[in-house]
Subunit: 233 residues, 3 copies
């Protein structure tokens, strides 16, 4: 379950379980509820603030909880919309946000990373990747909107149609992440970047974000249906 | 006329005439029909596959068949829509696509290149260019959509309003092409790149492409009319 | 008040006052009228032509005339629409345009720079910046459209939500400006660039520009209202 720490004015949201490392941090429905609860606490705090999201060990997040999903296929569309709710909330959060990519960010986990204002990625290991094509899976309207609005068209083509695994260097070249850092500096660099931006936590900030991301949000707020989520052919 | 060869799982579509080099590979109506017929054959094949498009000699393609067009101005709008049909078909083809730019790609030929997933360009000679402004010609709604959706806005400004001739190095810097190769390696590099992607030829691939390119396709599917193709003033 | 000089076929529009240096070149309503009057003269000229916009001293433009605005808050919406009219006019001018950024381009002054086809920026001093977040100010629908359409999404995130001050090197890396030059070469380089493009001043040019910038123009032509200009919360 996600848990929260604080470093000065910077909230650090850990995606994993306290005291456990190398968890995959997949989005179980209860996990999503806790994620939102923690952001409620973050957003309720007053004064200068910024958010850093991070995990420990090999994974940032592997995205969808496919075990749960395959056992609950009748609840798939509603589940996906809950996943999207994390993306849209991060995109419009009332403070600056930085993802510290300590390890793999795959699928919806890669999209969670894209939903932050900035990304710092570990240099030596870990990939950002959208493996949907390899799994024969489609993107929802919401996911398609997020990825195509956040990245240039050609990067979206490569990421979405080839499932390329981007190292930190590749991801920077593609405009997917902003900077890289040694493994033991990823969190510190992200906190430093976020810490320099806490004064921008003002009432106008979410207004600016909602306008800036209007097209992505239009897609993210589109409910998933059998009709708009075709599985190929 | 376009003709087809095969290199393992990679289909190689030659834009020129078999046994002839340095042809301009302009889009005569019969040429467009043959292009679609060859793609019918490609798409009908089963199993892993990818497409490479190439020509031989100095030209990849010089685009519109202006000789035919000036002799058939009354059929201009329908002709242009047939040209657009090649772009939209390539953008959504049910397998990965790579353009091997062996030589000049001008005007609608440059757009044909943009309609592939990836582009490899010859290092030493040949330009990618949209010379419409020099000819005093407009872009159709479809062409405008393709170019502005595939490239960043500033690159579109330069390409469309100045007619700049991009060498391979310039085109890579602008995000118009992906990689360059020596003249005798362009086709081989493109085939290698395509060959590495043949496993992505799955039912979900065209679904992903149609969503990813939705805005370009909306423009590409707009019929050309006298009203939406103004010639200036 | 803006005034005009001519260098061969290149019109040079100075944003400052003749004989005065280091003026901030803010957009007073009378200044905006004079700006349009000067562009009327430029557009009325026949034959090959291009426009360079520049100032002298430390500032290109600091944007909105906040002194006037705070004394005339009841006229704010109409005033902002007049500001937007400069952006949309430059975006679609019937000749090539180059901004020579001799000094600071802030807020609406930075947007005026973005409204040109190309930008040359002084290497040693001066910043391009959108300080709205620091001032707690929103972007209008028009300004949001201009910035988000002209820049990549991630650059828009950084520029609009952090108020980062971009030096010439930073601005080139971000795709905000095209080239840099020594202080005493900024105008000459901009005139050289514009001079090489004067032959593109053809009836088709504004047609191409209007289509290319259609989405930015849709935003720029949206009248500002209390409803679409929220001040936060």
């Amino acid at each position: 379950m996600p848990y929260l720490e604080r470093d000065g004015d910077v909230f650090v949201l850990y995606l994993g379980n306290e005291g456990q490392t190398d968890s995959e941090n997949r989005f179980h429905p209860d996990w999503i509820d806790e994620f939102h609860d923690q952001l409620d606490r973050v957003e309720a705090a007053e004064g200068p603030a910024a958010l850093v999201t991070v995990a420990t060990g090999k994974f940032f997040s592997n995205g969808l909880d496919t075990d749960w999903l395959f056992a609950n296929l009748d609840r798939m569309h509603g589940y996906l919309d809950r996943v999207h709710s994390m993306f849209s909330r991060l995109l419009t959060l009332n403070m600056p946000t930085v993802a510290a990519l300590n390890g793999h960010a795959f699928g919806a986990g890669a999209m969670l990373a894209l939903s932050h204002d900035f990304r710092v990625m570990r240099s030596d290991r870990g990939y950002w990747s959208l493996p949907e094509i390899h799994l024969g899976m489609p993107f929802t309207v919401a996911m398609n909107a997020l990825v195509t609005e956040r990245l240039t068209n050609q990067v979206a083509v490569e990421a979405m149609t080839t499932g390329r695994r981007y190292s930190a260097v590749d991801a920077i070249a593609a405009g997917i992440v902003d900077t890289q850092a040694d493994a033991d500096r990823v969190l510190a660099d992200a906190v430093a970047r976020a810490g320099a931006l806490t004064a921008n936590r003002k009432p106008i900030l979410p207004v600016i974000k909602r306008a800036l991301h209007a097209r992505a949000l239009e897609g993210l707020n589109t409910p998933t249906t059998a009709e708009n989520l075709p599985f190929g052919g």
